[in-house]
Symmetry: D2
Subunit: 392 residues, 4 copies
Amino acid sequence: MTTPAHQSEPRASRPATRPLGVAAIGYAFMGKAHSNAWRNVASFFDVPAFEQKVLVGRDATAVAEAAAKYGWAESATDWRTVITRDDIDIVDICAPGWMHAEIAIAALEAGKHVLVEKPLANTLAEAELMTAAAAKARARGVQSMIGFNYRRVPALALARELIAEGRLGTVRHVRAAYLQDWLADAQAPMTWRLRKETAGSGALGDIASHAIDQVLFLLGDQVTEVSGRLNTFVTQRPGSEGTEDVTVDDAAWATLSLTSGAIASVEVSRVATGRKNSLQIEVYGEKGSLLFDLENLNELGFLDATLPVREQGFRRILVNEPEHPYLAAWWPQGHIIGWEHTFTHQIRDFLTAINDGTQPTPSFEEGLNVQYVLNAVEESAANKSTLTIVRH
Amino acid sequence: MTTPAHQSEPRASRPATRPLGVAAIGYAFMGKAHSNAWRNVASFFDVPAFEQKVLVGRDATAVAEAAAKYGWAESATDWRTVITRDDIDIVDICAPGWMHAEIAIAALEAGKHVLVEKPLANTLAEAELMTAAAAKARARGVQSMIGFNYRRVPALALARELIAEGRLGTVRHVRAAYLQDWLADAQAPMTWRLRKETAGSGALGDIASHAIDQVLFLLGDQVTEVSGRLNTFVTQRPGSEGTEDVTVDDAAWATLSLTSGAIASVEVSRVATGRKNSLQIEVYGEKGSLLFDLENLNELGFLDATLPVREQGFRRILVNEPEHPYLAAWWPQGHIIGWEHTFTHQIRDFLTAINDGTQPTPSFEEGLNVQYVLNAVEESAANKSTLTIVRH
Amino acid sequence: MTTPAHQSEPRASRPATRPLGVAAIGYAFMGKAHSNAWRNVASFFDVPAFEQKVLVGRDATAVAEAAAKYGWAESATDWRTVITRDDIDIVDICAPGWMHAEIAIAALEAGKHVLVEKPLANTLAEAELMTAAAAKARARGVQSMIGFNYRRVPALALARELIAEGRLGTVRHVRAAYLQDWLADAQAPMTWRLRKETAGSGALGDIASHAIDQVLFLLGDQVTEVSGRLNTFVTQRPGSEGTEDVTVDDAAWATLSLTSGAIASVEVSRVATGRKNSLQIEVYGEKGSLLFDLENLNELGFLDATLPVREQGFRRILVNEPEHPYLAAWWPQGHIIGWEHTFTHQIRDFLTAINDGTQPTPSFEEGLNVQYVLNAVEESAANKSTLTIVRH
Amino acid sequence: MTTPAHQSEPRASRPATRPLGVAAIGYAFMGKAHSNAWRNVASFFDVPAFEQKVLVGRDATAVAEAAAKYGWAESATDWRTVITRDDIDIVDICAPGWMHAEIAIAALEAGKHVLVEKPLANTLAEAELMTAAAAKARARGVQSMIGFNYRRVPALALARELIAEGRLGTVRHVRAAYLQDWLADAQAPMTWRLRKETAGSGALGDIASHAIDQVLFLLGDQVTEVSGRLNTFVTQRPGSEGTEDVTVDDAAWATLSLTSGAIASVEVSRVATGRKNSLQIEVYGEKGSLLFDLENLNELGFLDATLPVREQGFRRILVNEPEHPYLAAWWPQGHIIGWEHTFTHQIRDFLTAINDGTQPTPSFEEGLNVQYVLNAVEESAANKSTLTIVRH
C-alpha cells in the first residue's frame, strides 16, 4: 500500500490561515442543488470557513452565468486545471455519472477532498477503482464522500436514531419504494437517460440506489441475497430522428435478504402516474414501525408497540423541533424546510468531517456496496433466479 | 311531586317471564337506522331478551312493508293504541320532532320506557314538558333517553375516557364543526326541513345539536355563556308551487364558555361543498389533544404531550381493538364498523340500563340542556350580542 | 358431459312457491360474518325471498346458541343430513378449508347452490375436483361461488368500473399489499394456522389470496409468470406442550406478470407492526391511478392524469353516494358502512344470480386460478427462480 | 398635506448604472428569514440587480456577526444614518412592531422603497400615519409593501387563482384557523410578547392577522361586520422577578361578514397542543372547495363539484409543478420547498414591482385594513356585541 508513488502524492490540504477553497464541477440540476447548499450552509450551521471559488462546466458562457447566479467567485471550463490549483481544497463532482471516476480519482490523487454525487459511477469497474483511490487517499488524510443526500433528511436521520436505539426491536421487514411519473406519458421524448450506454441503467440506478442506500443506512446492515426484476413498459419513444428503442428499465422490483435476517422489498418506477418524487419507506420491527414519504419529508410516522394497545397508532411526528437532527439551525417549530436542505446538511457534515480529519459518511465503499446490490438485481433479473451476493 | 295522580300511574314494566316488547314509531331514515340496531344488537351483545313487536307509521301499506323489511313482527298506524298495549314495554320514537312531546309524554305516563331521537323537541316549551314527564316517570322506575347516538361512536367514547382519565390535563379549547353539503346546490328544492314552522331551525337544530352535545359529553361540562350567529346563504329555493323563501339557517357559528373555563367554538354548515357528514372535533388540553372526524369514524387522533418532544405527534388510533369501547363484540382488529352501529351501541346501553333499573344517558335533562344552548345561540344571533345562559 | 349419471342428479332447486331455504355450515369468525349478511341483506336490498333455515356445527350446544344469536331457525350437527334436506336450496360453507371440498362437492351433487369461503380448498387437487363438480352442476342450473368478499367493497367495485371504462388507460403496474400484525409478538402462541398440515400455508394462502384476487378482478387479467419468496420471521412459538416449530410463512413477496403486459407486486405480512387489516392496492395506468386501503374502506384515491397538470392530484373519493356501487341501499351520503357489509353485498349478488339463473362471480374456476398463482409463488420461492404458469 | 417640504423630498431612487442597494433593519427571526430571501432570490429568479449592502441592529458585535453570516456586506447600528445613504435604495424593516412607524415613515420620506414586516404597526394611529406616508411616497414613485409572506405560498397563490377564475363559484364561507402550541405549557416563562404594552396584542395581532389577510387575499373582498372574542387561558406566568400577569390574549375567535355575502370564521390559538404552525384555511364555494394547512404547505386540497358525483373528492394537489406559481424557478416536480421561500417569493415580487414602477401588493393600505379588522375584533370582544366596521 505504501508505494513510493504514495509518498510523492500530496497530503490533504489543511489550510491553517485561509478558508477552504471549493470547486464544483457541473451546474445542471445537481450543480444547482449543491451550489445552493454551499451558498447557505454557513448562514445556518457552524462550519469551517470556506469559499465558493470556482464552478466548472463545458460551456464557457453558460458556466460563467451559472457561477454568477449560484454564488461562485469564478468559472472555468477545464476541470483538470482546476483540481490541481493550490487554492482548491475540495472538489464537489456534480457532472454526469460516466465522468465521476476520472475526475474523482484525479482529484483524490491531487490531494483534494472529494464529494461525488450518486451513483458512484456508471460501471462497477469504475466504482471499484474509485473506491481503491479513496482508500489510498484516506491514508494521507484526504477525505471522500458519496452524496446520498437522503441520509440527511431530518426525518430519516431521526428514523435511523430510533432504530439504532432499539425502539423498533428486531426489524423484520422493510418496504422501500421510489415512485415517480415523469415517463408515464408514452409520448415523452427519448433522452440520454433512456439509453443504456449513457445512463447505465434506468430507474434502477437512478432511484433504486436511493431506496437501497436507505435500507442499508437505516438498518446498519448488509445485503446477502437478491432477487430482482426489471421492466420497460414503454419500449419505444420519439427521438430527434424518429422512433428510438428505450434500452433501460423504467421500473424495477427486488427483495433483499439482510445479514440480520430482515428482508427488504424495493420497488421503483418512473411510470407511477401521480407520484412525483415519492420515496416511501416502511420499517416493521417487533416493537414498533416507521413510515416515511419524501413528498412529505418533514414528517415521520412512528408506531410504538410498547404502549398500551388501547392507545397505539401511527404518530405523525412533524420533524421540525430543535430536538430533531439538523433542525436547531433552522426556523421555529412547525416552519418546514424544503428538499434542497438535504444537501445543505450533507455539506455541513462533509465540512465538519474534513475539519475533524475523520471519514465522512457515506464513504465510497458504501457507494460501491450499493452498486453491488444494483448489479445483483440486474443479474438476478436477467437469470430469472435469486442471487447470492459474494463481493464486499 | 308525589301527587295522588302519580300513584295511579303505571310503574315501569319489568316483565319477569317474557322478553321486553318493543314498539318503534317512524320508519323513515331514523326508523330504518333504529330498526337496524334492534335487529342486530342481540347478535353481538349480551342484552336482556326483547322482541321487535310493532312498527308504527301513518301509511298502513308502507309501514307494513317496512315492518316486514326491518324485522318487526307487525305494523300499526295508531301510536296511541300501541303505547298502551300490555305487551309493549319500550317505545322508540323516530317520528318527526314536532311529534316527540306528545308521544313521549303519553308513553312515559303509560309506564313505557322511552327512547326519543334528537332533538328532544322542536320548541323549548315542549322539551321542558317532556323533561318534567321523564323526571316523574323515573321516580316510578320508568326510564327515558335521548338518542345522541354519536356518544356511542367507539372513538368518541374512547376520547371521553381519555379526557376523564386526565390524559389531556386541563382542557383549554374545543373546536367542533359539523359540515355537510346537501344544500350547496342553490337549485336543490325546498323541503319541510327548510321551513321554520316545520323544522324549528336549520343546521343549528339538526347538526349543531350533535356538536354541542359532544362538547358537553366529552368534557362533562356546562355552558355558561354563548355568542352565536346564523346565516342563510341560499335564501330562496324552487318549491312545488314556485320560488319559496328559506326560513331557517343553513350555517351557524357559536362560541361557548364552559364552567371549567374552557371555550368551545362550534361551526356548522349544510353548504360546505365536499363535506358529506363531517362532524369534526378537536380538543386541546394542557397535556394532550384529540382529533376526530365522523367521515372516518373508526379513527381517533391523539397527541400525548407528556412524551419527549422528539417523538410527539398526532397518533392515528384505529379504534378497532377489543380494548376499545364496544369493539370486543364485533370483528377482529382492523375490520372497521359502520356509522349505523352507533345506534346498535345505543340500544345496547339503553337495554342494559333498563335491565339494571338505572337511568340511561343522555337523559331528557341532557337533551333539554342542549336545547337551551341552541336557543341561546339563536337569541345571541338575533341580538348581535353575547348571552349568559341562566336556565338549567 | 351429459352422462346418464347426470340425468339422475338433482337439478337446482327453484322453489316457485316458497322462499329459498338456506343452510350455513360453520359459526366461527366467518360463520358470524356470513350470518350477519343473511340476517340483514333483505332489509336493504331487493332479493328473492329466503329463509335462514339451519346453522350447522359440530358442538350441539354451541351451534344451537349461535343459531339463536345469529338469526337461524334451527341448528344441526350433521352437515350430510342437512345438505340433502328438501327445504334447503343453498349451502353456505364457512367451515375450515380442509372441509371445503367434501362438503361443496356433496352439496353440488345434491343440487344445492353453494357459496364457499375462500380459499377454495387447502390443496390444489381438492380445488380442481371442486371446480370440476361446479362445472357439472352448472350444467344442471346449480350455481356456485367463492367468497372473495373484497370484490364487494364499494370502493373496489368502483375501482373496477373506472378501470373497465378505460379511465386509467393502459395499466402498467399494480402494488398490492396485505399487512397485518397479529403475529408481530414473538411470544404469540402456536395455533393450527401456523402448522402446514392444518393451514396449508400462512400469510400466502390467507391474505395473499385476497391481494391476488383483487389484481385479477380489477384488471380482468391473467397471470403468466410468477416470482415468489416466503419467509418465517418467528420460527418457533410457545405451544401447549412446549416450544413448537412454525411451519408456514408469516410473510410473502411476489411479482406477477400479466397477459396484458402489466406487472403486479404482492407483499403480505402478519408481522407488520401497526398494520391491522391493511389491504393496500395501488394501480398505475397511463391516464390515471387508484389507491385503496381496507382500513379505510369507504375511500378510494383517484388521480385523473387527463386533467390539466396544474390541478392534478389524488382525490379522496368518499364512496358513499347513491351513485356508487351498492350504496343506494344504505344511508345518506357520508354515513360510512363497515367491513361486514362486503358479505352483505356478496349475498345480495349471489341471490340475484341464483334468481336469474346465471353464474355468480367469482366462480370456482376463478378461485382455482388464484390457487394456481399461490402454488406458483410457493414453487418459485422453493426453487429460487421465476416460474411460468402453464395451467389454466 | 402638500407642504413645500414635499417638493424637496427625494423621488424614488432608480439607479441606472448600479444595482439597487438594500438595507435591512433587524436580525432576529424575521431578519434571518428576510436575509435568507435576499441571499437566494437571484439564484432562482430573474430580478433586477441588487446588493445586500447593510444589516442594521442595536448590538454592534451581534449585528456584525449576523451580517457576515447572512450575506450582508456591512453592518451598522444607527438606522437613521443608513436610510439616508445615497447607495441605499430599499429599506427592509424587520425590527419589532413598535419601531415600524418611525423607521418606515423616515425611509419613505428619504425616498427609499420600503418593505415592512407585518403587523404594519402596534397601534392603529401609527398604521394610519404610515399609510398616509406611503400614499404620499407613491406619488413620487417610492414604493412600499407589507410582508404578509403567506400570500406567496405557491399553494395559496394557486388557491387565489382558482377562486379568481371562478372555479369555486360563489364562495359561501371560509374557515380560517391559525393554531400553535408554544404557550401550551402553563410554566412557559413571561416574555415581551405577553405584555400588552410591548406586544399590542397576543395571538390576535400575531397570527390572526395572517388568517384575516388570507381571507381578504383569497376572496378579494372586504369585511363589513365583525364579532369577536378573546381569551387568556394562562393568566399568570413565571417572570424573572416572580409571577407576572399575562395581559394579552392567547386565543381569539371571530366571524367576519364580507361585502360579497360570504362569512369567514377565524380561530387562533397559541395553546393548541400539538399544532406547531398550522394555518388552516378552508374555502367553501358553490362549485368547489379548497383546503390548506401551512404545516404541509406544498399541498392544496381542491374539490371540483362540477365533476360527476361518482368521482368527486378532495384532491391533494402537490403544488410543485412548473405550472404552479413560483415553482418553475425551483426544482423538478415533487421536490418540495420550505417555509422560508415564501419570503424569497415576496422579495422577488417586491423587486419586480420596483423595477416596473408599480405598487407591490399587499400595500400599506391593505395592511391597515387588516389592522381595522383586528381592532374591531378587540372592540367586539370587549363590548360583547357584533360590530360594524365603518372605516376603510
